[in-house]
């Protein structure tokens, strides 16, 4: 089975966001970039799928030269081959999905793993859009997956519980935490990854369907007050919640 895993290269979650000069993007100075945390679950599931059914796992990322770092990380975990779909433009999710769909089609992958969300723009949509462009099924936010022939059985996390979903391949699965425990890259894996190939392809220019006018910081909250340091503060706290905030 030919398996694809899509990877985005994102600022570390501990990043303190500073708005860039153009007021549209963050200032990248000093920002550490990592493989999107949810994509590690996707890589793990892709590797497990290959271990079970044989075949090949290809990691695909849309981005610039820097994204190779995250592709390398996937290669070190055990992915066979990497593809960088190169662009210097800031694409919206549609542009990213289009590029991914074209490549997945060209590679004839039957099952595609993605993260449920990229922790930069937090859209949670690239998987679903890609599946529609390909005419694949899609199950998002998956915490448990079974593949039986053409059939897929997955559990997806929703408010107040889980949905058990039945579907078929070819499919896109987006991974939520809980799906598996991503393996660490072994030293051997890291060494081997240096020899693995990362193919580069330029992607054609596309028009974005949305446009960011401005990025800004949220209005900082007024610092609150510390009412006290022991139980004597409790009645006052309850009074404030009741009379001032009117929330209880």
């Amino acid at each position: 089975m030919k398996v694809a895993v899509c990877i985005s290269h994102v600022p570390d979650t501990a990043t303190r966001v500073k708005i860039g000069q153009d007021e549209k993007l963050i200032d990248p100075t000093g920002v550490v970039y990592i493989i999107n945390p949810y994509d590690e679950f996707a890589v793990e599931e892709a590797l497990k799928t290959k271990e079970k059914f044989g075949g090949e796992v290809i990691a695909i990322s849309v981005g610039n030269e820097n994204s190779k770092e995250s592709i390398r990380k996937a290669l070190a975990m055990g992915v066979d081959k990497g593809i960088l779909l190169k662009t210097e433009k800031i694409l919206d999710s549609f542009g990213i999905a289009r590029a991914l769909a074209d490549e997945i089609k060209a590679q004839q992958c039957e099952i595609v793993f993605m993260g449920k969300q990229s922790v930069d723009y937090d859209d949670s949509i690239v998987g679903q859009i890609t599946s529609e462009l390909l005419g694949f099924s899609c199950i998002s936010n998956v915490v448990d997956l079974k593949i039986e022939g053409q059939k897929l059985f997955a559990e997806r996390e929703i408010e107040g519980g889980k949905e058990v979903v039945e579907s078929e391949t070819p499919a896109v699965i987006t991974a939520q935490k809980g799906l598996n425990e991503p393996r660490y890259a072994s030293l051997k894996g890291i060494m081997a990854s240096k020899k693995k190939e990362i193919l580069e392809k330029l992607i054609p220019d596309t028009e974005n369907l949305t446009e960011v006018l401005r990025m800004r910081k949220p209005v900082a909250k007024q610092p609150g007050r510390i009412i006290g340091t022991d139980v004597s503060a409790v009645p006052e706290l309850v009074r404030l919640l009741h009379e001032e905030a009117k929330v209880i």
Partner: protein, 323 residues
């Protein structure tokens, strides 16, 4: 394109969710700007509170009524929203940013080649074009964003936009749709409700605990307070990673993003990834024995004391207040 806004409503166990009424009000706002009509779209087999739609000033709803649509089916729901889109030539498609809305909205967008603006937190209708605001980097920044596409898909964050009751003179017209040959290729075959009560993503009040609780059994202090408040229990990642609490309760950048009316953080330091998930709560209370803990920078009210003393006292005091 006609001047129509489709409000895609969500039901679970035959009840339209609260967020659906927020979607209606939001849709009315958009519609007023572009002189459009709002049409509701619902899926299900036997929705109890369908008539409530009327209270929010809506007089037309398309109802895809079928046993097979009682549970979510991504493939069937997508097809039917597209059918409604073709029939009404709608310009806007508004969903709640829920597990269902997040899954369905981008599929609809992809079919229509419509841009998607997810998790909208505010909208500015005063200018020439409509400008949406949504969080990025888990709320550490906001973007103002607009559409370039003809058709437009928006999801709104629950519990942010008010569901405003408004009068309409017309009766509610429910258009029942015959459905046949549903595409059920991808469908929910079972809903496993988690034991425990409210989900943090839907709760109006959340009481969360962190590593400061020291041990899993001490979460009973958090649960007791949650009980008297009718609140959901949340947790920091430290508490989840330690195996004290299930992941579904995790609040933060890699957990759930929540915007309750009241968030009470107990023994949580307020790491940036935690703040990312809860700082848009309307009121925040922090209980932490370290007065310099970063959680106090976002808290409206803080108690710089010991959770083991404060929590039982607070639970009692609220019980008294409610009696």
């Amino acid at each position: 394109m006609s001047n129509t806004v489709l409000a895609i409503l969500e039901q679970r166990e035959n009840k339209l969710k609260k967020v659906s009424f927020e979607v209606l009000s939001f849709s009315k706002n958009i519609a007023s700007k572009i002189s459009a009509e709002v049409i509701g779209v619902v899926f299900g087999s036997n929705i109890d509170n369908l008539n409530d739609i009327h209270k929010y000033g809506i007089s037309r709803v398309i109802y895809y009524k079928c046993e097979d649509l009682a549970n979510y089916s991504p493939s069937a729901y997508t097809d039917l929203v597209i059918e409604a889109a073709t029939e009404t030539k709608a310009e806007y498609f508004i969903f709640g940013d829920t597990a269902l809305g997040k899954d369905l909205a981008p599929r609809v967008g992809a079919r229509l080649n419509a841009g998607c603006i997810m998790d909208c937190m505010s909208v500015d209708l005063t200018g020439d074009s409509i400008v949406f605001t949504r969080p990025v980097y888990a709320g550490k920044a906001l973007i103002d964003i607009e559409f370039k596409s003809d058709q437009k898909v928006v999801t709104i964050r629950p519990n942010i936009f008010k569901a405003n009751v408004s009068e309409v003179s017309q009766e509610l017209k429910v258009e029942l749709k015959e459905v046949s040959n549903l595409n059920l290729k991808t469908r929910v075959i079972e809903y496993k409700k988690s034991e425990g009560k409210l989900d943090v993503a839907e709760a109006d009040i959340i009481v969360s605990g962190g590593r400061g609780l020291k041990a899993p059994e001490n979460f009973s202090l958090v649960e007791n307070l949650a009980d008297v408040l009718g609140a959901a229990v949340g947790a920091s990642r430290a508490a989840v990673d330690a195996g004290w609490r299930p992941h579904r309760e995790q609040v933060g950048q890699t957990g759930k993003t929540v915007s309750p009316t009241l968030y009470i953080a107990c023994g949580i330091s307020g790491a940036i990834q935690h703040l990312a998930g809860m700082s848009s709560s309307k009121y925040i209370v922090a209980i932490n024995k370290d007065k310099d803990a970063p959680i106090f920078t976002v808290a409206d009210y803080g108690v710089a004391g010991d959770v083991f003393e404060i929590l039982p006292a607070l639970t009692e005091e609220i019980k008294k207040a409610k009696a």
